[in-house]
Symmetry: C4
Subunit: 481 residues, 4 copies
């Protein structure tokens, strides 16, 4: 470790044959690791021979280096005097003056301010969605096409949003969805979100790709604060098992959220444009090269998950209740409800439109379940996310049968705009809007909301009306019936 | 009263501990009153130590000071020589030349001219609506999606709009809805609107939050001029009772309009942006602070109103007929019709989209009533407001069963653009358009209009089709059946 | 006549008490006529004391002065040397280079070029429509929402558009609708349109408000050229009778078109803005002033027309077949078909959207008739106009049952863009497009087109579905059944 | 041939009486040929007396001159020194830097880059569609209005797109539609597309109007590469027969595609504007001149094709399987299926919106067939094209019953943007997107896709619901039943 290297020397090792990078002033030989990097080799090679700290830091939790590199990979430290001046990262506009978060009135204003403050790369990661963003936009629009039915002459003095998710009490039916790489937007990262959730009394689901360790994120949790933890099963199962073991040890984490809607990466073009994902040129298109591309597409995730195998594997490694995220059909909701001894909830989600464009919004799936198999709502908890930007959206989801409503991008914009205070304000706005809406509907508690409070006539004309796969589901999962 | 104070001395009293303000050249100590101000403490504190006349005057009727402050609060007068120069209020554009109102052809042009003439604050108050203005826009659009069915070869020489509202004769089925703070737009204020209504022979409903006293507004009424008066029940009931007593003494006021759709303030962001409403920063989010926020949300209004208690209370204090404003479901319309001994009319209204975004337009509620309980039209008068901008809109509402059609923002834009003459012209345009439309439909009188004159096919596809609460209504209001 | 007056002297007579105007170099005293002017007094008073030729000429056919003024109204001639210099009329843009009409490819391009060439006033007259132009736009859009069903493997060598309207042969089912004031756009006026119709072999309906006399318009007609003549019945019936007598003498005119959809002027705001219509200020709004306004609204037209009286009156004055223009409901189409001994055709028309905004397009009325009383198509000819801009629009109207398809604005834009050649080119484009469309549908003649060639699914969801007035129609017109 | 002519001398022969042109340095007398030119006389006359090489070359395959002109038409060569300097062709923008195709992420970006690189004329040819481009846009939009139904917990490791079209194996269900004049966009022309198809393992249909000969295009085909060849039957049948004979000799060409949707040229205005098509001025409109116009409209194509005559004629000249392109109704799909001994497939196509505006997209016809005569899918292969821009579009077409999905403009934009590599990248993007979509639906092979994977509710509300012509079809084609 005592060795001090010249930046110019490091710069010579800039190929896949010999690839060195500088991180936090130290020099590492990552040649062996390049091909195993979950984010792809190209991302590293672009930084080969250079100081990669600025790019590396906000997207990797503590301990990542140690658990991926052998000790001998650390070659020494770089002589700071030999380092070239770094250029500041590009943002979407000139640096703006700080806008106090209490002057921001809604989610759109938070997004606008955050967009101006953060790097283009961070913006692209947060903003992007699959293909033409049709599903991303539809997620929000579909809420707007549901009308409310306000009632009059009802005492609305009392109104509170207290509820519980999987038995965990929370001050509101709104939770923070798992969203990765919070430190891209603000140095306080996922811990900042945790601080806001504590202050507001709500639940945070920690992303599998968080930029901080779960231990860091829950470190300052209050005794009655609850968390979920999101699991992407990796093709290297032992890594996932190790993580689950760590999670089992964190008492603040009350449930696991297994994300199912992205076994293969969605095509997020803004993300590709601003360098978060690097595509390989099709120089020699062929069935062979396609296998390679297919493999890349999984990016280290295990594409072999099935109801039988995966739930059994999970049962061997944790006793935490399981929530399945990414359900988008009534058939899958129904199958999940058959596994209710282990699966305690599902999240109707299209991954914020990031996975498959023109996939349906959660509102559609809620109505589909109501139409084909409403018993699901009695068997397991149904949560939703995607496109929620107003308290009225929250209320509509609850009317349709959701028990919990997740917000994904808003806490990230909130964090980017103002750190933990920005997230608090974001949650506060939603709480205020939700209560105003409930009062004007003449409702005191979330569990009083129902179909009589909304007019879904327009949306119902869009709901799937084709052949139901329920018969097949029952046949295939007979043992669970 | 003889004491003369220096402006600089007043300026020292600019906190909630000691709060002085200058109004019309006099100095008041309002320290005790700050926390009771219906518009919130912050609005006053922003002006603490300063001359508040320009902000205070256009939104408070005469007598407000006297009835809210003790005599000893008046400390003296300010020495004019010590006052700083005031800056003119910001408007939406450079001062424009006066546009003669007779050159304006429609409601949109009036809004455009008024927008240029008035302060941003006044504009924000008049223009703003809840959240994303979806309901505000939909109010107008829904009229556009109803088609007319003109008939030919019918003598259309005669056509008049004479009708009556609750037995009060009027020259047109169009009335002026209660809209607050007319003096923000023009010094002639609500009295200017009254002058126009007298000239045009129609009915004005005076806002509970008018910027002039009801006595001032009806002062120059002609013998056959009719008014309604809008009541927001205050949490301090004795204040409301006192006001009702005053109203009972004004013979020009023929009915009370009890507004029910805003027990809690809607979220009007334009209004917040331009300083009419001041939000508190969520510094210490907690269940405690939420109670505080909830309380603020009511802004002095009584959130406990119910069919039984409130109507009985009203009966004790007035024998004027009651109109309930803000009905948005067939269920509430039906319950109102059960109380027809006291409730003589209802106004289908979403408060111009200012209360709850994505609540339905009056056209929806009209069609809902026709579908579920058309007997309501026989029992009580049904009036509507929201989005009316053309004579064809008036005609369509009448075809659907409305007896009266209210306009809220148009008279304010008219007043702002040209005082009483602007309001007259506004009403004249609507009258002309309405008559042209009726003639082309082959109709001579409002009561001849019916469903055969309109094609509502598109709108019918949007009407609520879910479970009706009529059964519950009948059970709960059995004594009235 | 020998008297020569000084322009300055004329200028003194500029009030309703003494109103002189200069026309074609002569001075007239029109004081007595002002109040009888069909276009309103204000239009004349604006020009009182001045040379009115430029405004007067393009909108009045020859002989207007003579038939409206007594001989003694002619005071003499003006001394040209005393005349002030006149300013050129404003156009929508700088003078543009002439665009050869054969380079224009569609109706929109013609409108664009014409808009640049003509005065703002002429543009406003041609372009304007009622209120918000919703019906005007919908007229065109509704055609776009009907899909075609092209067939393959059909010999399409032969295709011709020959048909007849009321027995008059024509080379195409497209006729020129009556549209007023062609000389506003081009000096060749209605005679230029006639020349184009002769060249293309189609039928022109001459407007009641043409800027040339019917005699001038048909002067150069070929022996087999057919015309219709549009009648607005005037409140001074003897004037209409005199005109009908003149028409009866013109053998080229084969039928009368009685326009029914504008007993009262529609509200065309562009027209008002650019000075073609002048509104009175509502200075003293009152039932009295309303009677005055109502009277003005008829602008000399007779508002008392009815099926019984008016058709009988017409029968006394002409034996020409009658076509009723402006039918917009299946009920009126049905009643017209009961009068088939005299009424040989109807035109489903909303007057190009100029009369009543949100009235239905002819496509709606066609579908309404098909739904409620298809026998109408067997009894009388059904023609349509409004919004036709493509050959596919023509074909769709024919598929729905129309026998003739009128175009109103396109010939005016064509004329304005290039005189008679512009109209020819306009018609040629429509003919070419129509034939291409028919060939691709596998159809050789207009009468082979039917519902199997179009998909009207979307439009059918908009068609009136309410109570039909057919029962009442049958009761009221029993004698005709 | 030895004669050397002066450019000035050639320039004198610039009329239809004597028309010389310079091509590749040689001088030809084309006076006799002008009137027979399939593209119209005007196109040639515009270049009479000039060097036409730049205009001629990219749109005519090798051998065109030889097979159309007599040997004596070649007058000699031009003296290069006498030639005037030529001006560069206009493009849509300034010359842009080359954009590497691997940085382009979707079809839209390819179109954008290609638009900047190629001449306006080439752009107009590729981009243009009939009339108002309604069908062109709808082709793409209709795919977007179909929602997907992703399934979870399905092993998606394996996914391949292998399938076959008419028994010819292909690595993907995506084929290249016949699109003319590839050399307008890139010198490698149709051979460049062939190279990309070989590399990617898919099928190319060669346009009848290719800018290279079929022999050139298939010259470098690999042994297992398959092609189709598009046939427009010419009015001069012997020319078509000669071409078919050449095709019969090319073993790489496995089937004929007979295009039926353009017996008459659609009206592509962009094409007309930029000089690819030249319209005749209507100088003497008359039935006579219309016959002339009609003739022009066919542009050398035979308008007499019928099921009986044409299929029999084809059977006499080739034994290749026939695919009928341009089917747009269930009736024609059904008739085609009756001819299944000869007709092995149909392509539901509206010619990329180039033929008849407001004709239906292939998605409509797929749903129409499913509704009226689903047996068609069992009898013959159904392919579709039009508007496909995303892998999700491909998947949706397959779910609806298509066996093959054609792309027309995308390979041309790809070629124009980057030659054969651009086409490869275009195909690669579609393959990647298609596989991602299939994996997220839980599907491994194209034949597993079905109606249960999509929600077509919105589109179904647009599908033809009128009288079916199936009865007539059965009657007329009884011999085939």
């Amino acid at each position: 470790m005592g060795r001090v290297l010249d930046a110019a020397e490091v710069a010579n090792h800039n190929t896949s044959e010999s690839c060195w990078v500088i991180l936090y002033g130290k020099v590492y030989d990552v040649t062996d690791f390049v091909s195993q990097h979950p984010g792809g080799a190209k991302v590293i090679l672009k930084l080969a021979g250079k100081d990669a700290t600025e790019e590396y830091d906000p997207v990797h939790p503590e301990g990542t280096l140690e658990s991926n590199l052998k000790p001998e990979a650390l070659l020494g430290s770089v002589d700071p005097a030999t380092m070239p001046k770094s250029e500041p990262q590009a943002t979407n506009s000139e640096k703006i003056e700080d806008v106090p978060v209490h002057t921001l009135l809604n989610m759109d204003e938070f997004e606008e301010v955050a967009t101006k403050k953060i790097s283009k790369k961070a913006w692209a990661y947060y903003y992007s969605a699959a293909d033409d963003l049709i599903t991303k936009r539809f997620n929000t629009e579909v809420f707007r096409s549901i009308l409310l039915r306000p009632r009059v002459f009802i005492d609305c003095t009392e109104c509170n949003l207290n509820t519980s998710l999987l038995g965990n009490p929370t001050s509101m039916p709104i939770y923070v969805s798992p969203a990765a790489q919070a430190r891209l937007g603000h140095p306080s990262g996922e811990a900042g979100i945790s601080e806001a959730c504590q202050s507001m009394g709500t639940i945070q689901i920690i992303s599998n790709s968080a930029s901080m360790t779960p231990e860091q994120i829950v470190a300052n949790a209050s005794p009655n604060q609850s968390f979920g933890w999101q699991l992407y099963v990796q093709d290297n199962r032992s890594r996932s098992e190790a993580m689950i073991a760590r999670i089992n040890n964190l008492s603040a984490i009350k449930f696991l959220v297994l994300t199912l809607d992205t076994p293969v990466m969605g095509k997020r073009e803004d993300d590709q444009r601003f360098g978060n994902v690097i595509d390989e040129l099709t120089e020699q298109a062929s069935p062979e090269s396609w296998k390679q591309r297919d493999k890349q597409a999984f990016a280290g995730m295990d594409p072999t998950l099935t109801w039988t195998e995966t739930l059994a594997w999970l049962a061997r490694h944790t006793s935490l209740p399981i929530v399945l995220k990414g359900v988008q059909t009534h058939e899958d909701a129904y199958i999940a409800s058959l596994h209710r001894l282990q699966v305690k909830g599902i999240i109707l989600s299209n991954h914020g439109g990031r996975s498959l464009d023109t996939s349906p919004p959660a509102v559609h799936t809620l109505l589909e379940i109501r139409k084909y198999c409403p018993e699901v709502f009695d068997r397991i908890e149904v949560w939703v996310d995607g496109g929620v930007r107003r308290g009225t959206d929250v209320v509509k989801a609850l009317c349709l049968g959701a028990k919990g409503v997740g917000i994904g991008r808003p806490p990230l914009w909130g964090l980017a705009a103002g750190g933990a205070d920005g997230v608090k304000r974001t949650l506060q706005i939603l709480v205020d809007e939700t209560k105003t809406c409930m009062r004007l509907l003449g409702v005191q508690r979330p569990d009083q909301l129902g179909m009589q409070h909304i007019n879904t006539r327009l949306v119902e004309q869009q709901i799937y009306d084709g052949p139901s796969g329920l018969g097949t589901c029952r046949a295939n999962h007979r043992s669970k019936l």
